[in-house]
């Protein structure tokens, strides 16, 4: 299935990727090629087949209800692009 340039723009917005206008045609082409490859699946009869989300049949393991996390704020914020007083900074959201 081919995807249109408009759809690529929409998907790029959802994925938070700023595709420049001059790259749009190339991306549209390569994404269409991948979707063509994937389209073989539509011909497969999967009536009654349970979707497989995970390779192993397992249940979620529960841990003891005790505190395991210690405070790593300073250490983790040391690799952040911009922090102030223990907070991550981003451009102003509310005027």
């Amino acid at each position: 299935m081919a995807i249109s340039e408009d759809e690529v723009k929409k998907v790029a917005r959802l994925a938070r990727l700023a595709v420049p206008e001059e790259r749009l045609a190339a991306y549209t082409q390569s994404l269409s090629n991948i979707l063509n490859l994937v389209d073989q699946l539509s011909a497969v009869d999967t009536t009654g087949v349970e979707p497989m989300a995970h390779p192993l049949d397992m249940v979620q393991r529960l841990r003891e209800d005790v505190v395991t996390e210690t405070d790593h704020r300073a250490q983790y914020q040391a690799v952040a692009p911009e922090v102030e007083k223990g907070l991550y900074l981003v451009p102003k959201v509310i005027e």
């Binding site: 995807i3 759809e7 690529v8 998907v11 790029a12 917005r13 959802l14 994925a15 938070r16 990727l17 700023a18 595709v19 420049p20 991306y27 390569s30 994404l31 090629n33 991948i34 979707l35 490859l37 994937v38 389209d39 073989q40 699946l41 539509s42 497969v44 999967t46 087949v49 349970e50 979707p51 497989m52 989300a53 995970h54 390779p55 192993l56 397992m58 979620q60 393991r61 841990r63 395991t68 790593h72 250490q75 983790y76 040391a78 690799v79 952040a80 692009p81 911009e82 991550y88 981003v90 451009p91 102003k92 959201v93």
Partner: protein, 492 residues
């Protein structure tokens, strides 16, 4: 030849014995590898980071602890490398991406912690395809890696730097990861041994995620025995990965010498059909006959849905990747664009600038497949076909103990040859992807050279959690043959 000139020819056990009997020190072993990295890495580009200083500090400490008898285990004093997607505390961890070009990890991955505690010495971080997305190591933001057997060829991917590292003996062992074949395909292209254990065998904590229902870490080394020793250390339960299985870890070295008499080997007819290069097929046939001569029983099996594995994978893996990689937002860590005009601009430009084209293609495919109106047609459908592929393997394992076949349809291809054609690159993994989708353990071991002079690997697939049997089979093969000890003349 002085002692230091031959350390790189030793197995993990050889290095362990050497440092424990005082033949050479951990520092001498470490220096021997650091010198080789300095000499050969510029032409191979197999390492992104060499941790020379910390390696030397660790070597001094481990030498002391071995002398005092505090460290005796199989990895004590053994140098190793890590694919650059395992977080290593205080060390640059880039995932071969501009997104993480300056990311110094604040903590260790579970497997890095294990190897550190066992007394291993970290030599550095191996090059790879960006975020492990690729089959040639050409999507790395830090440049392509050359195949030591022919520097005009790719080493495979995504663990291409690791495979080249082992092939050129720039480390005796490294850890790779395999989502759709990223350990097995480069192992085949580079004449090394690598195993992707069963999904859930090893904790993924601190391993930068690509596709969480597929990603699994595994050792890459010269021999099956070296992989077994490593797996002993890294396998097992870790509460920080909720998909890590709580099953006992056997001693993988204890069963290496088991007999192969009566072993039932299944050959999937779909893996020997059109598309398999004739010279690769010849090498595979020869190895199968060797197993037969040692008492194995060869049977044909069928995996009728395996041709659908690549399409399923290119829905499931991008869908999971689009979700996993949403964490790279330019806020908490990683690349941030200059002068964002608002929050949306910050997200969109940081991500556009930080990721390479292949990663962005996959994020967009995944976002599309999961978006409203397309979910049933793509993601749900792919999950259903994924079950059909798993059921094919379950049926095959009723008749045979293991499955064998090629790891890849061809030997290593040329650098640049498939770079601009993602689809032809994707189809490289047609024999490894079905195994990943089923969550089964798969490995590659060297079985000789094709007419073009390049290495060929055998893919060996076991039933769930039967890594010990697989390592036994590969080890036995390595007792009759010496392919796994062969190194390109330039790196001997």
């Amino acid at each position: 030849m002085s002692q230091a000139d031959s350390i790189h020819t030793l197995s993990l056990k050889g290095i362990h014995d050497g440092v424990h009997t005082g033949k050479f020190s951990v520092m001498e072993a470490t220096d021997a590898y650091l010198d080789r990295i300095e000499r050969f890495n510029p032409e191979l580009n197999a390492y992104i980071t060499v941790t020379r200083d910390t390696a030397k500090t660790q070597a001094v400490d481990i030498d002391n602890r071995i002398r005092k008898g505090e460290l005796t285990g199989a990895m004590a004093g053994v140098p190793y490398a890590l694919k650059d997607l395992f977080c290593s505390e205080g060390v640059l961890t880039t995932c071969a991406s501009n997104m993480l070009a300056n990311f110094i990890s604040p903590y260790d991955a579970h497997v890095a912690e294990k190897l550190k505690a066992a007394g291993g010495v970290l030599l550095g971080k191996n090059n790879m395809d960006e975020f492990a997305m690729g089959s040639s190591n050409e999507t790395s933001a830090f440049g392509s890696v050359c195949n030591p057997w022919d520097v005009s060829k790719v080493p495979g991917g995504s663990s291409g730097g690791g495979a080249a590292t082992i092939a050129a003996r720039l480390a005796p062992m490294t850890l790779g990861t395999d989502t759709g074949g990223s350990i097995r395909q480069p192992a085949s292209f580079c004449n090394i041994t690598g195993i992707k254990p069963t999904y859930g065998r090893i904790s993924r904590y601190g391993m930068i995620a690509f596709a969480s229902s597929l990603d699994q870490c595994g050792p890459m080394a010269a021999s099956a025995e070296d992989c077994a020793l490593t797996l002993n250390i890294i396998a097992g339960l870790d509460g920080r990965d909720s998909t890590c299985m709580d099953l006992p870890v056997p001693d993988y070295t204890a069963t290496l010498n088991g007999s192969l008499e009566g072993l039932r080997i299944g050959l999937p007819k779909e893996f020997f059909a059109e598309g398999l290069d004739a010279q690769v097929a010849d090498v595979i046939d020869r190895a199968i006959k060797q197993f037969q001569a040692k008492g194995a029983i060869i049977k044909e099996v069928t995996l009728p849905n395996s041709h659908l594995a690549v399409p399923v994978y290119y829905v499931v893996a991008p869908a999971e990747c689009s979700s996993n990689l949403s964490r790279f937002d330019g806020v908490r860590f990683g690349h941030r664009c200059e002068n964002p005009k608002d929050l949306m601009d910050l997200y969109e430009r940081s991500r556009w600038e930080g990721f390479g084209d292949e990663v962005k293609r996959r994020i967009m495919i995944g976002t599309y497949a999961l978006s409203a109106g397309y979910y049933d047609a793509y993601y749900l459908k792919a999950q259903q076909v994924r079950r059909l592929i798993k059921q094919d393997f379950e049926a095959a394992f009723k008749d045979v103990d293991v499955i064998m076949g090629p790891s890849c349809p061809t030997t290593a291809f040329g650098i640049g040859e498939k770079k601009d054609d993602p689809i032809s690159m994707y189809l490289e993994d047609l024999y490894t992807i079905p195994v990943s989708l089923a969550g089964l353990p798969g490995m590659t071991f060297p079985i000789g050279f094709a007419a073009d002079g390049l290495p060929v690997g055998m893919q060996l697939v076991g039933n769930y959690f039967e890594e010990a049997r697989m390592l036994n089979i590969a080890h036995q093969y390595q007792q009759w043959t010496d392919w796994h000890t062969q190194v390109p003349a330039r790196f001997a």
